[in-house]
């Protein structure tokens, strides 16, 4: 028995290390590139021989980058917030109520999420230039919400279905209005779902490149992924690999923070103890 468990442990560690390597080799490579200087950039060393913060200095001296970082954070936070608020209510209705056209709404939501985004770029561009949303925050926030909602509704309604309906009835009997029941009983219990969804939506917005590139033209609303593609080297012949790597590392930080903060709130078994003995 004893050797078997040791073997098994070893095997697990082996697999874990393999997976971690697979996931982190490119990330470290990126980190390493961002810390190299122009001369050693292509020396083929995995670890930088003379680490330098020059690339980081460069991007933070670049006003366009700083501005795009602010754009990214603002646009993604607002999109996530709005998508979560609307998505929560919508998912609640879908999970709890019987109403005509429910199946149609779900099908539509699914359809929207399946639509290839590239097909929408030209129409969106036309519409946004026509109504003056082009190159503004709302010009990105609205499409982000549209694409985030189906995801939010699907994930959240799965969470809502897990909440015992009796709790809501109990709240009603205790004198709660439907809104109070939703706000004070249902929503707190759906929080793990809300945070999970928020993380997914935020990541999706944060990583979007297509819309960010096509629906903006200046640093007014351009987000980091798009801004990075406009980086230029010191000379036309020099590739801005170092700054791009540094920017990539920088934009990973908010998302890691976001996930870490919210992940702690994703506690399993929040509804335990609600029903039965």
């Amino acid at each position: 028995m004893q050797p078997a468990t040791t073997n098994r442990k070893l095997m697990w560690w082996g697999i874990n290390i393999l997976v971690l390597l697979y996931a982190f080799v490119p990330v470290f490579w990126l980190l390493s590139l961002s810390l190299k200087n122009a001369e050693t950039l292509n020396d083929g060393n995995y670890f930088p021989t003379h680490p330098t913060g020059a690339s980081y200095q460069a991007i933070f001296q670049n006003d366009d980058f700083v501005r795009s970082l602010i754009n990214s954070i603002g646009i993604c936070l607002i999109s996530t917030l709005v998508a979560i608020v609307i998505g929560t209510m919508c998912a609640y209705a879908i999970a709890r109520l019987q109403f005509p056209g429910k199946a149609a709404i779900l099908a539509m939501a699914l359809l929207v999420s399946m639509f290839p985004q590239i097909a929408l770029v030209t129409p969106l561009f036309k519409i946004e230039t026509a109504i003056g949303l082009f190159d503004t925050w709302p010009g990105l926030i609205i499409p982000y919400i549209t694409f985030a909602l189906p995801l939010a509704i699907y994930t959240l309604s799965a969470f809502f279905r897990e909440i015992p309906w009796d709790l809501e009835k109990a709240a009603k009997m205790d004198g709660a209005t439907p809104y109070q029941a939703f706000r004070q009983v249902i929503t707190p219990l759906a929080m793990p779902g809300v945070f999970t969804t928020a993380i997914l939506v935020f990541i999706a917005c944060w990583n979007d490149f297509l819309f960010a590139l096509s629906l903006t033209s200046t640093s007014n609303a351009r987000t980091v992924p798009a801004a990075m593609s406009y980086f230029t080297g010191a000379t036309t012949f020099e590739k801005p690999t170092g700054p791009i790597a540094a920017a990539a590392i920088v934009i990973t930080i908010p998302i890691v923070l976001f996930v870490l903060v919210f992940q702690r709130r994703i506690v399993a078994g929040l509804t335990s103890g609600a029903v039965k003995g």
Binding site: A170, K172, G175, G277
Partner: protein
């Protein structure tokens, strides 16, 4: 405190299922009413209609003289205890119990005081800061009770509140509920599956079957004067024995147990109905007795081939089988399904509860007596009790 009246209440679900049909009941202020019936007969539906959790399809629900059909649950001032307890898992016991008060906009100080009082009554004081997940089943049940009683509502509705507890705890909680209800004097509508709860808790019992009220009355009345086969079979444990038989002119019944002459009172109740007719005869187990113990009380005797004897100390249960088909009727079939006694063996099994002094032995024949004055006669086709005047 309130008086609750249901007038011709009907519930039809959107899918067309008729769950409750023409329900009429006057619940007096402070009364403890029990709703019993087999699974799916519409008990929860009735309760939910009173609560306001289900719409009323037709009829009137009147609380304290006011028609409340269209009032939201929160405006009816009624508290409910759910079978699942439905405690808010993210709140502590104190918050759970204080929730209705908080919604009512009471100040913190008063809430605290009321919750403390209720906790004291329910012996929950040392658990007030725990979350429901860390409580035992019985404690959860008491928190659910506490949440109902803190706000002193007009009425309590309870849907099988004890069915998730084990047998011993159920007995404890049963007496506790009874005590609390008596001391608060709050009108209570209580749904249960359990015989004992039905017989011991309520002032009156409502027996339902397939959405229709079968009989309303005190537990003792339902026991002694069931208005039909269904009530007779449902109330009482162990349940009444049913035998098919013929009622002959002159008040003689013939069953697998032989002939029996009905006493005058029963004959009068039959109203001199003449001519032979098919009946179902009902005899409660305790109306049998060992013939040697009875002496010469009026009644009928027969020879019973005893299969099994269970001595319970205070009395003796004797089981035997007599020849003949079991009494068959839709109502009895439903009862059998509900209790899980779906055994259609050959012959007709009968349970008799005899005096402890009886000398009956298994696998031997005993001379048994039964009290003809306590016989119930039911119409074989309609199931109506022929000896009861309604």
């Amino acid at each position: 405190m309130a008086e609750i009246v249901l007038e011709h209440v009907v519930k039809r679900y959107p899918d067309g299922a008729l769950a409750v049909d023409d329900f009429n009941l006057d619940i007096a202020d402070g009364e403890f009413i029990i709703l019993v019936g087999p699974s799916g007969c519409g008990k929860s539906t009735t309760l939910n209609m009173v609560a306001g959790l289900e719409d009323i399809t037709a009829g009137k629900l009147i609380i304290d003289g006011q028609v409340v059909n269209d009032k939201a649950p929160k405006d009816r001032d009624i508290a409910m205890v759910f079978q699942s307890y439905a405690l808010y898992p993210h709140m502590t016991v104190r918050e759970n119990m204080g929730f209705p008060l908080r919604l009512a906009g009471m100040d913190k100080q008063t809430i605290r005081q009321k919750v403390d009082e209720a906790a004291e009554l329910l012996e929950l004081t040392q658990h007030l800061d725990r979350k429901p997940a860390n409580l035992s089943g019985g404690q959860r049940q008491r928190v659910a009770m506490g949440r109902a009683i803190v706000r002193q509502p007009k009425a309590f509705l309870m849907d099988e509140p004890l069915s998730n507890l084990d047998a011993k705890l159920r007995v404890q909680m049963r007496t506790q509920i009874s005590r609390i209800q008596k001391s608060l004097g709050t009108t209570t509508l209580y749904v249960t599956h359990d015989q004992t709860e039905a017989m011991t808790l309520g002032d009156r019992v409502v027996v339902m079957r397939a959405g229709v009220v079968q009989q309303v009355g005190t537990p003792a009345h339902l026991y002694a004067h069931p208005s039909n086969l269904f009530v007779a079979g449902f109330i009482g444990s162990p349940s009444m024995n049913f035998l098919p038989g013929q009622l002959k002119g002159g008040g003689t019944v013939v069953t697998a147990l032989g002939e029996a002459q009905l006493p005058d009172r029963s004959r009068r109740a039959l109203d001199g109905a003449s001519g032979d007719r098919e009946v179902i005869v009902g005899i409660r187990p305790e109306h049998f007795e060992d013939a040697s113990v009875v002496g010469d009380k009026p009644g009928a005797t027969f020879d019973a081939p005893i299969d099994i004897v269970e001595a319970m100390g205070s009395d003796v249960y004797a089981y035997f089988t007599v020849k003949g088909e079991g009494a068959s009727s839709a109502e009895l079939d439903e009862l059998a399904k509900d209790t899980g006694n779906d055994l259609h063996g050959t012959g007709l099994s009968i349970t008799a509860r005899l005096d402890a002094a009886s000398g009956v032995r298994r696998n031997s024949t005993a001379k048994l007596w039964y009290d003809t004055a306590k016989l119930h006669l039911f119409d074989a086709s309609t199931g109506k009790n022929l000896l009861e005047a309604n």
